[in-house]
Structures are given as C-alpha cells and as structure tokens.
C-alpha cells in the first residue's frame, strides 16, 4: 500500500505533522502516581500511637484545666471506675442482660424476617398486597414506638427483645425479598420442566438461592439488635448497660458513663466478630 501524503484521511483533517509533534513535546512529562504501601506493623504501631496519644492528651488537658473534668471526666478516673464497676457493681448482670436481649432479638428478627421474605415467593398476589405495609413499617422510625412497646411488654427482658426484633425483622424481610425477586424465572422453568412440585422448587432452588441474601444482613442486624436493646433499657429497665449509662448520666457520674460505653463497645465488637465468623462459615457452606 502506498503511503498517503495527503493530510486528509477518511475525511479527518489532520494538522501538519511537525506542528502536532511540537505540541506533544510541549506537554509536561507526568509520571504515574505511585503510592507506597506501609508494612502491617507500621500501620498497627501508628494506630496504637494515635490511641495512646489521644488518651494522654485527654488526661493532660483535664489535669491542666483546659477542659472541665467534671463534664468530660478523665482517663485515670475512668480506669479507677472500671475496676470498681467490675469488682463491686452489677457489671456481669448488666452485660448479661443486654447481651441476652440483643441475641434473642437478633435471632427472632432475622429468622422471622427471612421466613417472611421467602414467603413472598409463594404468591405474587400476596406479595403485592403485603408489600406497601412493609415499606410503611420500614419508613417508620421504629425507635419512636419504643415507649409503646415498654407499656405493652413491661419493663423486663421481653420489651427489649421486642424492640430489637422490630428493628431487625424489616431489614431481613426486605433483603430476603430482594433475593426472591432476583431469582431467574428460567431457573424455575428448568425445575418445572423436570416435573418439580412447588415445594421442590422452593426447597431446592428458592431457599439456596436466597441464602446469600439472608446471610448478608447478619452483621447489620447484630448492630441494629444492640441499638434496639439499649434504647429499650434507656426508656425503662432495671438492668442492662443502657440503664447503667442512663443512671450514671443522671447522677453526673461521667466516669461511669464512659465505663459503661466502653464495656458496651467491647460487647458490640465481640458480637460483631462472632457474627462475622458465623457468616464466613455459612458462606463456605453455601457456594455462590
């Protein structure tokens, strides 16, 4: 093929080559930005350093009078209160109470919600009728109903479980229903072409297909269940970390507030880790 020396190729006007080359060389030479990753130990040391630094700064600020230690408390006081809390107070009763409300609410809400979501597969009409109610229930700030729940279920464990359940149920229902809706109709066609009954399609196709959706909300739900339990304890309770925080706040025992928050956070992290572990185990069992 002959090299064309015209400046028009396929209708595209080209600038004279020398000018284009000159323009290109005028562009700044820019290198690909490279970010160097720190080794893990450096990251961990930095993280610990920030934490220790923040606590130290808090202590210094309280002692130097930069902040009012009455309102903000100080790390040394919190540490003293912590050892008192565990040696003399109802620490384990409170932790156990909050833990139980959370776990019961989590299990009840997640199980019921998943089953509820799966049930929509059985009838499109039923799903269409019920759906607006669920959306409504989802948009209600359910914690606003907490005083009513306390009135109905009393100030014991059951009211906390009820609030935790209400929070988790809707999330599980909607997520599972999303799974049901994502089901490929051709998959159902395959099962029916093999002569399957509806129950067989449900057990062998719908449930395994939706399991990843059901599992994916476990971590969200454990956090929600804890929130529900704490709010229930705030409103009316005789036990629990939420009650401990409220009581400490009302008696201006700010160090105790911090202690209870610290213990609560630890509980939250432990439960979150446990649920994450369960989730990864389940995921291994359910290939997707």
């Amino acid at each position: 093929m002959v090299v064309q020396d015209t400046v028009t190729v396929a209708g595209v006007e080209r600038a004279p080559p020398t000018a284009a080359a000159a323009e290109r060389s005028a562009r700044p030479a820019r290198r690909l930005p490279v970010q160097k990753d720190w080794p893990t130990w450096a990251l961990v040391i930095t993280q610990i350093g920030i934490l220790v630094g923040a606590i130290a700064l808090w202590e210094i600020a309280a002692r130097a009078g930069w902040i009012d230690a009455f309102f903000w408390s100080q790390p040394s006081a919190i540490f003293r209160t912590l050892s008192i809390f565990f040696s003399t107070g109802d620490a384990w009763t409170d932790i156990g109470f909050t833990f139980r409300s959370t776990i019961f609410g989590f299990l009840l809400g997640t199980t019921a919600g998943s089953l509820f979501g799966l049930s929509f597969w059985w009838s499109r009409n039923y799903a269409a009728v019920v759906q607006p109610y669920i959306i409504c229930f989802e948009s209600i700030p359910k914690l606003a109903l907490a005083p009513l729940v306390i009135l109905v279920f009393g100030i014991g464990l059951s009211s906390k479980v009820a609030i935790a359940t209400a929070l988790t149920l809707v999330v599980s229902t909607l997520t599972t229903y999303a799974g049901v809706k994502a089901l490929d109709p051709d998959g159902e066609k395959l099962f029916y072409s093999l002569g399957a009954s509806r129950l067989q399609v449900f057990r062998k196709l719908v449930v395994p297909f939706c399991l990843p959706w059901i599992i994916s909300v476990l971590r969200v739900n454990i956090g929600l269940a804890l929130t529900g339990a704490i709010v229930g304890e705030f409103i009316a309770s005789q036990h629990g970390l939420g009650r401990a925080i409220l009581y400490a706040g009302q008696t201006y025992d700010i160090a105790l507030v911090w202690v209870a928050v610290l213990v609560l956070s630890t509980l939250a992290v432990v439960m979150y880790a446990a649920v994450s572990w369960v989730e990864s185990m389940l995921r291994k069992g359910v290939r997707q």
Binding site: K189, V286, R287
Partner: protein, 264 residues
C-alpha cells in the same frame, strides 16, 4: 405404523396485548419419529422457544394438542428433557449434583442417582470435574454438564434450545461432535433449535424452516446425508443445495451470510 414420538397437532398460540391479540404461532403441525434428530431454524421472534415451552408443558397453547407417544400431553410437565439457552447450573451444587437434579426431583434416591451419573460424566468429557462447582468450568464444560443433566432426566424426547449459541466457533464444533456421539449412544429423539443453518443441516435428519408474524413452519427439508457425517460434508453439493435453500427461505442473501460467517 407406530405413533410418532412427538406429534404437535395444530398448536397455536396467541398472547393478549394492549393492542389486541398477538398471534405468536399460527397453527403448527409437526411430527417426529422415534430416534430422529430434527432441527427448527428461523429468524428471531418466530416462536421457536414458544413451541418448546408448549411441548415442555410450561405454556398452555391457545389451540391444538401435543401428543407424546400418541398420548395427549398438552400442559403436563416432566414429560420431556428441556435444555434452555442458558445452562442454568446451580452454583451451590457440584457438577455431579447438578447432573442428577432431574432424577432427584423424580424421587430417585441420591446415592443411586449419583452412582448412575458418575460413569456418564466420566465417559462424556467431565472426568475430573465431577466434584467441582460450575463457576470453575469453561463455557463448553458447563454446556456439557447441562446436557448430561437433560439426558439423565431419562425421557425419550429432549428439546435443545440453542445449546451452543453462546460458545465460540471452535468449541461449538467440538460440542457438535460430542452431541452426535451422545445421540448415537443414547438413541434419544432430539428436537433442536438453532440460528445456525450449517449446524442444523450438519446435525439433523430433517430441518424445519420457520417464518415470523405469525410464527409458522414454511418448509420441511429432509437431510439424507449418510452418517456418521464428516466435516467435509459441508462442502458437498447436497449440503450446499440445502444450505442455499434454507438461506433463501430465511431471506438471507447467501453471499452476505457467507461474508458474515467469515467475519465472525
């Protein structure tokens, strides 16, 4: 004369649409003798999949009957093996457990079903893949697993809806050979849908050419090439004559189609 394996008797299908009834299928009559390999070819939207859904009992026709072995099977499911365009392998089951799905649904004990399926998977090119999950299989392997699932469902008649449509050209040829081997070994009656004229002629005893609006069969062309067929048969005069006839019926310019084949 024995009843044909499949007899589609004046089956028609109309769908209600806002603009009035839409005639998807004009009354279609089609008879397939036992053990034959028959293809349907036609443009998109000519109702090939609709016919399949009706034969498989997944769709109730607005008119006509489907007879299998001379018995009315209209609207009953589980009578034929049906392989849809997608392989639809269940990702949470191993290849072996996917293959036994049909038997499992029919209530065959799992152990027994696995014992039956295992040697077949090994003989038909899935050796070493039995306990893997479908996501680690190539497209061709997935189609093999899906086809074996259809065969293991143990019906005499199987419907294959463009099983090789999504495969690359090379794999497609291999799969055609593989399908011929299976067909020879199992002696099933096959109804095959494809867009690929050459594939239809190469595989079939009979090619039905369809047209659209409404979907109908416009011509039935017997393919009497001797079996086993060689790839070079596609260059012979009889093959080419049938191909030309099909392309003409499908309103495709042969030269343009050839050019498209080359490009692809």
């Amino acid at each position: 004369m024995p009843a044909p394996k499949l007899h589609v008797d004046n089956v028609s299908m109309a769908f209600a649409t806002p603009g009035g009834a839409f005639q998807a299928l004009a009354p279609i009559t089609l008879s397939i003798a036992t053990g034959r390999f028959v293809s349907l070819i036609g443009p998109s939207g000519c109702g090939k999949s609709t016919i399949f859904n009706i034969i498989a009992g997944l769709l109730e026709p607005t008119g006509g009957r489907v007879l299998i072995d001379g018995v009315d099977a209209t609207g009953t499911i589980g009578r034929v093996g049906y392989m849809l365009q997608k392989d639809l392998l269940l990702p949470w089951r191993t290849v072996l457990d996917n293959a036994i799905l049909g038997m499992e649904i029919q209530g065959v004990p799992l152990r027994h079903a696995r014992e039956r399926a295992l040697p077949l998977l090994q003989r038909y090119g899935l050796s070493g893949f039995e306990y893997l999950y479908p996501n680690s299989l190539s497209g061709g392997m997935r189609q093999r697993a899906a086809l074996l699932r259809t065969l293991l469902f143990d019906t005499d008649l199987i419907l294959l809806d463009e099983p090789f449509g999504a495969l690359d050209a090379q794999t497609k040829l291999q799969m055609q050979e593989w399908l011929m081997q299976l067909w020879g070994d199992f002696g099933k009656t096959v109804l095959f849908v494809t867009h690929d004229v050459e594939e239809a002629i190469y595989l079939s005893d009979e090619v039905h050419v369809m047209a659209t609006r409404p979907g109908r069969i416009i011509e039935t062309i017997p393919v009497s090439l001797p079996r086993p067929r060689l790839r070079t048969a596609a260059l012979g005069p009889e093959f080419l004559a049938i191909k030309e006839r099909c392309l003409k019926l499908l309103n495709v310019n042969p030269a343009a189609a050839e050019a498209m084949n080359q490009a692809a």
